[in-house]
């Protein structure tokens, strides 16, 4: 099963993304807590792209594709332009977040703790981030 969503770079689109992800995950056999975490991880990547890569330009968009396999679910997040390589990003220490009163940095930390595998590729124009979660109970 493959689901797709085109998401314009406005943070008010995040609720639409959550609805899309909720529907995508409903037949995966995942528990509610795990579903909640996967939705959060995908949202963190999308929000990050909207805000930092596309500066909330409502004319820009990102594409989210969810592919449900027997043993895993793959979320493919594609955007054009200046890429953000999540694998190269060094997230801050929690203590540093508190000390510097910075409001960012926690999102990528969440993504890396929640997802089982993260992939990133770019050709200089088109950037693809893949978030993979293994379906344990299937």
């Amino acid at each position: 099963m493959i689901d797709r969503l085109k998401l314009y770079c406005n943070t008010n689109q995040l609720a639409i993304l959550r609805d899309f992800l909720t529907k995508t995950l409903q037949d995966t056999g995942m528990g509610d807590i795990e579903k909640h975490q996967v939705i959060l991880a995908v949202e963190e990547v999308c929000a990050n792209l909207m805000i930092h890569s596309h500066l909330c330009n409502p004319n820009s968009f990102i594409s989210v594709r969810a592919v449900l396999h027997e043993e895993e679910v793959v979320f493919e997040i594609v955007d054009m332009g200046q890429g953000f390589n999540i694998l190269e990003y060094q997230e801050p220490e929690l203590a540093e977040v508190v000390k510097t009163k910075r409001k960012g940095g926690l999102g990528i930390m969440l993504v890396k703790k929640i997802m089982d595998r993260i992939e990133f590729e770019t050709n200089g124009q088109k950037n693809t981030c893949r978030l993979i979660k293994i379906l344990k109970s299937k």
């Binding site: 943070t11 008010n12 995040l14 609720a15 959550r18 509610d32 807590i33 909640h36 975490q37 959060l40 949202e43 963190e44 929000a47 909207m50 805000i51 929690l94 977040v97 508190v98 000390k99 009163k101 910075r102 409001k103 960012g104 940095g105 926690l106 999102g107 930390m109 969440l110 703790k113 929640i114």
Partner: protein
């Protein structure tokens, strides 16, 4: 959709969060905490019983105040989080930095 309300009860403020906090509305949480601080709050109870979702944008708001709370000896306790939301705090280790209690009674008891 997010609804934020706060009331002063005796010597503490109760900040009630209802709905979902994400990057589109975390500024509202920030503004509410700011307003409570301007009113001279020393004890803040955050009612999380109706909080369905919080992303890093909302968590970051709490984190950004922790140092100020410590400096000004302001106590903050979150109570009543749904298990799915509580787990997000645990994943990041925020439960070690912010006091989280199951019920309002427990939160009140824990207030010095």
């Amino acid at each position: 959709m997010l609804k934020i309300e706060f009331t002063k009860v005796n010597d503490h403020f109760i900040l009630s969060l209802s709905g979902e906090i994400d990057a589109s509305n975390s500024v509202d949480l920030d503004a509410a905490i700011q307003e409570i601080l301007e009113q001279g709050a020393k004890k803040i109870l955050v009612d999380g019983t109706q909080l369905e979702y919080i992303s890093s944008a909302g968590l970051g708001v709490f984190m950004s105040y922790l140092e100020e709370f410590q400096e000004k000896e302001i106590q903050i306790i979150i109570f009543g989080l749904l298990e799915k939301v509580h787990q997000v705090f645990i994943i990041l280790g925020l439960d070690k930095l912010i006091s989280i209690k199951n019920t309002q009674e427990e939160a009140l008891e824990a207030m010095a």
